[in-house]
């Protein structure tokens, strides 16, 4: 292990503090794994339900380390010309026709497969940047299995091989963060190369602080009631447990409606903000005696 650059964070406490400065309140688990990913130079795979702040984490890391965020959004059918690089065919053709007859074949061939005709896509961009970079590979589980193979070289050696040109190695390792909603099992090869963080719902105290920082106008007592209620809802067997984003939305809704206590009527009127499935609402109402 020979880090190419000095680590960005000094200690776990330093991570917590600087992420907080970027507006992200990190739990011990998050701070520790971010610290380790940075220190050991390994990619970080973040898994967890929707709405717990996986993508936010990448943005906060970028902001706190003053790096640029390079984002690769995965979707079904993404391929290497979208993720890695592509040759600029039109420009290549132009170059060939421009020098027709005046140049030998060998020179032309060497010339059209050079840097100038390469269109970098997010992965190559992140590898080639000399400034601090955070590479976010978002929703990797949406991409096809073949794309994972493509990532392996980038993730383990921080390099990209272009057959016509040779291997491009990172001059400065980017901080790589992959997110997954675990709609499918990722391959062992990919997981092996990463540190793993399961990002779950935060504990009560942290969630209170998150809500307070996002909806500062909300009264403390109401925030407290809100967080406690959401935690109880998560304890029920629901189809979709409410996430942090929903807690914040709920807080904003109550604020907009000018409600200052979370009594039966308020909950009944606004339950749809936190529970998005009809069957979940019915169940919660029945179990929590909301009628």
């Amino acid at each position: 292990m020979s880090p190419l650059q000095s680590p960005s964070f000094g200690s776990v406490a330093d991570v917590t503090e600087r992420l907080a400065g970027a507006g992200y309140l990190a739990s011990t688990a998050v701070a520790t794994t971010v610290f380790l990913a940075d220190r050991l130079g390994k990619p970080l795979l973040v898994e967890g339900p929707a709405g717990v702040g996986k993508t936010e984490l990448a943005k906060a890391v970028a902001e706190s380390t003053k790096s640029e965020l390079v984002r690769l959004q995965c979707y079904e059918g993404i391929d290497e010309s979208r993720a890695l690089y592509e040759w600029n065919h039109a420009k290549q053709l132009l170059r060939i026709t421009a020098s027709q007859g005046s140049e030998s074949w060998d020179r032309t061939r060497d010339d059209v497969f050079s840097e100038e005709f390469l269109l970098p896509r997010p992965l190559l961009t992140a590898i080639r940047r000399a400034e601090p970079t955070v590479l976010l590979i978002d929703e990797i589980d949406k991409a096809d299995v073949e794309v994972e193979g493509l990532l392996l070289e980038v993730l383990s050696d921080y390099q990209v091989t272009v057959p016509e040109m040779g291997t491009i190695t990172a001059t400065r390792k980017p901080f790589v963060l992959l997110t997954s909603n675990s709609t499918r099992e990722l391959s062992e090869a990919l997981k092996r190369r990463c540190l793993f963080l399961h990002l779950d719902f935060p504990d009560a105290d942290l969630e209170r602080r998150i809500v307070a920082s996002r909806v500062p106008e909300l009264a403390d007592a109401l925030t407290d009631a809100l967080v406690r209620t959401v935690r109880v809802l998560r304890g029920l067997e629901l189809r979709k447990a409410p996430s942090v984003a929903e807690t914040i939305d709920w807080g904003r809704t109550l604020l907009a409606l000018g409600m200052d206590t979370l009594d039966d009527d308020a909950v009944r009127a606004t339950l749809g903000v936190v529970l998005k499935h009809q069957s979940d609402q019915v169940k919660a109402a029945a179990e929590l005696r909301l009628n």
Binding site: K42, T183, L195, T229, D264, L288
Partner: protein, 472 residues
């Protein structure tokens, strides 16, 4: 002291990793090296950081966390022996070594639960376990020389924290909140949650102390919880089953994704010889342009026939939930439940239906019992064939769930053979271990002669079987 590892910290780490492996967490040498790097990068005085750091290095799936936490507490305990806590356990007569004063102790516990102070609760758990083991509560006094015995059962029975619920709720309730309202219910559940956490603390503490006296390998072998997918259906208790139900949707999603990949790869059918030869006429008999058979997307009807008698209820319930979650993979699903006779319960599994209480509704609303409520496979197959045999068509797959324990009644192989002949495929999923098939009143081996029978003891096994059975 036997707790010191002979090879220092690296040796200790390897032991820890080995324990994880025996509990089904696949940790490779690469991960172990990562874990060792984590040890060098972190300040080892922060136990929480160490825990999260090691988890990041060795875990690869979220379901493994519970096993990891328990083993971490065993291998990297927070304290040795009784530790040095602030919390004092009240004694009878204020004597340092006297018996534990149960009533006073319950008062202390109620106060701590009311405040929800987790660290103080953990210290109380430690002190209680220690005090109970050394002096007992009934006043049998000091037992010099005796091996201390740690017992979660004894501690929890003495404290019985559940009975404190009403008292704490009363103390916390605001004056204007009426009992039975929403706010009251939320509070009640919150306190119940705290009490459950305290029970876990006691259990963890007992596990730690036992590991000190009896060796952690032995404790790790016997009292570490299994991953939800590895729990056997037939021996699972309510809590494990609830956790299992929570894994249904991720499991179904994973299965569906794998099936989608398989479908994609099998999109092009096999070579169509007749059309290829016919096409080759125009190129002088040279098959330039081969023709392939188009594959019809195979979405079969599924007919599930499942035993819902008490002995296999956990298994049937889980499998039905899985089928329900996978319903996009089938054009039509019909579900029949049976105990002594069969009845259709498809309407209870409609999309969007509330599924966690569905088993109760099945038992309450369907007419399944004729005589004594013990499962009767022969009779059930008979009644199914009599009333619903039109559910089975050459396009449908029949899935039978049950342990094939007939209570020594007629297994009715003829009817099963006829049903199997009517359906395109028939498979039997049996939650019993294979070695118990055919023992006692089990007719499993006789049924297995008629239809293919698969052993499905755990959710992981079930997933494998379902994946291999589902048509492309």
């Amino acid at each position: 002291m036997a707790l010191l590892a002979p090879h220092g910290l690296p040796g200790h780490l390897v032991d820890f990793v080995a324990a994880l492996r025996t509990h089904g967490v696949a940790v490779g040498p690469g991960e172990t090296i990562d874990a060792a790097k984590v040890l060098t990068a972190l300040d080892l005085l922060h136990r929480d950081h160490l825990r999260e750091g090691l988890a990041a290095a060795v875990l690869r799936r979220s379901g493994q966390r519970k096993v990891f936490d328990t083993l971490f507490d065993l291998y990297f305990p927070a304290a040795l022996g009784a530790g040095s806590g602030e919390v004092e356990v009240p004694r009878v007569g204020d004597d340092e070594d006297g018996a534990v004063d149960v009533d006073a102790l319950r008062d202390v516990l109620a106060d701590l639960l009311r405040d929800g102070d987790d660290s103080a609760l953990a210290e109380l758990a430690r002190a209680v376990v220690d005090a109970l083991a050394r002096t007992g509560s009934g006043g049998q006094g000091d037992r010099p020389g005796a091996q201390p015995s740690w017992s979660a059962y004894q501690a929890l029975r003495m404290l019985s924290p559940e009975t404190l619920l009403a008292r704490i709720v009363d103390a916390l309730r605001d004056a204007d909140v009426e009992p039975g309202s929403f706010a009251d219910e939320v509070l009640r559940r919150e306190i119940r949650d705290r009490i459950a956490r305290f029970r876990d603390m006691i259990t963890d503490e007992v596990r730690r102390r036992t590991a000190e006296t009896r060796g952690r390998e032995q404790v790790a072998r016997t009292s570490v919880p299994k991953q939800a997918e590895q729990v056997e259906f037939l021996s699972a208790y309510a809590g494990q089953l609830a956790e299992l139900r929570r894994t249904v949707h991720p499991l179904a999603r994973r299965l569906a994704a794998r099936l989608a990949v398989r479908r994609k790869h099998a999109k092009r059918g096999e070579l169509d010889m007749r059309r290829t030869l016919r096409r080759s006429m125009s190129t002088g008999g040279v098959p330039m342009n081969p023709a392939f058979r188009a594959r019809r997307p195979g979405r079969p009807d599924l007919v599930v026939l499942c035993d819902v008698s008490g002995s296999v209820a956990g298994f049937s319930h889980f499998t039905l939930l899985l089928v329900q979650a996978l319903r996009e993979q089938f054009s039509k699903v019909r579900v029949f439940a049976f105990v002594e006779r069969a009845d259709e319960v498809t309407h209870l599994f409609e999309p969007g239906a509330e599924l966690s209480g569905v088993m109760n509704r099945v038992l309450r609303e369907a007419s399944l019992v004729a005589f004594d409520g013990h499962s009767d496979y022969g009779g059930s197959f008979g009644s199914f064939a009599e009333y619903w045999s039109d559910a089975l068509t050459p396009r449908s797959s029949l899935l039978i769930l049950g342990d094939a324990r007939t209570n020594y009644r007629d297994p009715n192989l003829t009817v099963l053979r006829r049903l199997a002949g009517q359906a395109r495929h028939t498979h039997w999923l049996n939650p019993e271990p294979r070695r118990q098939w055919g023992t006692g009143d089990s007719a499993a081996l006789r049924y297995a002669d008629v239809v293919p029978m698969h052993e499905c003891r755990t959710a992981a096994q079930l997933a494998t079987v379902v994946e291999s059975l589902l048509p492309i």
